[in-house]
Subunit: 311 residues, 2 copies
């Protein structure tokens, strides 16, 4: 148990990220009191059953009363409503942060609702799994992962330090980035990868010549890897694409351009061009493993006997 | 130890698949003698060091002398040369099989080289990892995986039964398919997924506004999943795309068409269309897990604290 960083923390939204934060805060003794809120009554009931928080409230306004740190952990397009709802109930000197996967749009939506005397530090932990809901959370989720913080007009130095200490206490490393750059980096490292994973799974499901049961049966040849991120929360991801439209369309344009070139290399049987790309891409995985952002075990360490790449 | 299925098995090509077969054969006592061959002297030396076979030969012709079962486990475009090299050295009554990820082209290349009195059963185990070479093999690789067999003019009933028994003894289930359908099924379940994985990794590496070190650092947000299959053997994959051109271009056309529709949905902010697809794709992963072709553990069961989908 470390010395509590905050007297009271309010977590708004108790899905995978919110519930993992709640568990990490309680495990680390980072607050005297943890108050939770979710707009979904079933999620609130499950949160009480799992004892994710000391108290679970029916409204965001009630949940933030007297809180020193407020963590908004809802789908990005729901941030504006939550911010509006809590605006007049925030304690002077309180710090508001969020975990949204898009930062420019969240700042546009939330910043106007932050009253004077309250700080706002937009944040984004680069962590999660394909599962969602309060049962999916676990306190180790942020360990060894990066959390990106961005600055806005209401990001005081003191608040930046407090939010930094908060994430470090949960095992994350901190990186500071401006919102536009964050949105571009995430478009290529996360948003476009999710989009093409959702897309290939949709394409495979819609074929006539190959049945869905054949796709399922032979998925270990590569396809199944994509189904993991394509199983992520539909509302969260709908909101991300709508909120990071510009950066996603820019990166998607490059992806499609490169794919067209690859398609042409196949049509014209340009073996050397294919081999050159396939050799180059190997290196990047090696770097990711060396950076501690991926397991070195073959096949993600899946149980023996399961595997990929027979092709 | 089961009763040996064959007196002598020759394995031509000692990469991930060939070495895994050698280890599974020796572990299960499926042959009296295992003879190995690889055209690469370093691979042959490593195979001897790892005792993958009873004997490792310098030529495919020497390796097949007196063999009852010959397994061709080389990149698909190398099959023709290997078949030509062994053609006159095959024992009457011998059975030749292969593990190539494309079947129509392999049949075209290999069948003409199979002499009368020798059977040929084209095969394809749906198993592997992103790693390659003789050190990457392990005997459990085929357990619980499917192995697809196809029939050609030289596939006698007896040979089909022998090759079926061979794969079952290594823990695989057998499915029989015609070569053209196999190539179509694998194009969508394996070849196009690998192509788009290679492509997104290449796109990310070539950006100016986002550095490669940023891509590596924040890869846990989804990107790193794609780097696994994009780390697969470059020559093997070059050959697959060149040999299954027609089916790959057909499936790639559908993928690009669907992606364009998704891009348009983002541009026009059609939230319901995005949410509908993202909800549908979840179901397919559930089916793959139920079919025993994927682990139910979140994040592929990666070590705790590592994860994806913060978005």
């Amino acid at each position: 148990m470390t010395e509590p960083l905050f007297n009271r923390i309010a977590i708004l939204g108790l899905g995978l990220i919110g519930s993992s934060i709640a568990l990490a805060v309680r495990r680390g003794g980072l607050a005297e009191t943890v108050v939770g809120y979710d707009k979904d009554a079933q999620v609130r009931a499950k949160a009480e059953e799992l004892a994710l928080a000391d108290r679970v409230r029916k409204s965001a306004a009630a949940a933030v009363e007297g809180a020193d740190l407020i963590v908004i952990a809802v789908p990005v397009r729901a941030s504006a409503d939550v911010a509006r709802e809590i605006s007049e109930h925030l304690k002077p000197g309180a710090v508001v942060t969020d975990v949204g996967s898009v930062k420019s749009s969240v700042i546009c939506d939330v910043l106007p609702e932050i009253p004077d005397g309250v700080a706002f530090v937009p944040g984004h932990p680069i962590a999660g799994t394909e599962q969602s809901g309060p049962e999916a959370g676990f306190p180790e989720l942020f360990e060894g992962r990066w959390c990106i913080l961005t600055r806005c007009e209401k990001s005081t130095d003191r608040a930046m330090e407090q939010v930094t200490a908060f994430w470090r206490a949960m095992g994350a490393d901190i990186d500071i980035m401006d919102p536009e750059h964050h949105d571009l980096v995430l478009a290529i490292t996360s948003h476009v990868p999710h989009l093409i994973a959702y897309n290939i799974v949709g394409t495979a499901a819609d074929l006539e010549k190959v049945t869905e049961s054949e796709v399922v049966k032979f998925s270990a040849s590569g396809f199944r890897d994509f189904t993991r991120i394509a199983a992520s929360d539909p509302i969260m991801w709908r909101d991300i694409f709508l909120s990071n439209k510009g950066a996603v369309l820019e990166m998607l344009g490059r992806f499609s351009e490169d794919l067209a070139a690859l398609q042409r290399a196949i049509r014209w049987e340009d073996g050397p061009a294919l081999q050159e790309l396939f050799t180059r891409t190997r290196e990047i995985r090696r770097e990711i493993i060396e950076a501690g952002q991926e397991t070195a075990a073959p096949d993600f360490g899946r149980p023996h006997g399961s595997g990929d790449e027979a092709g």
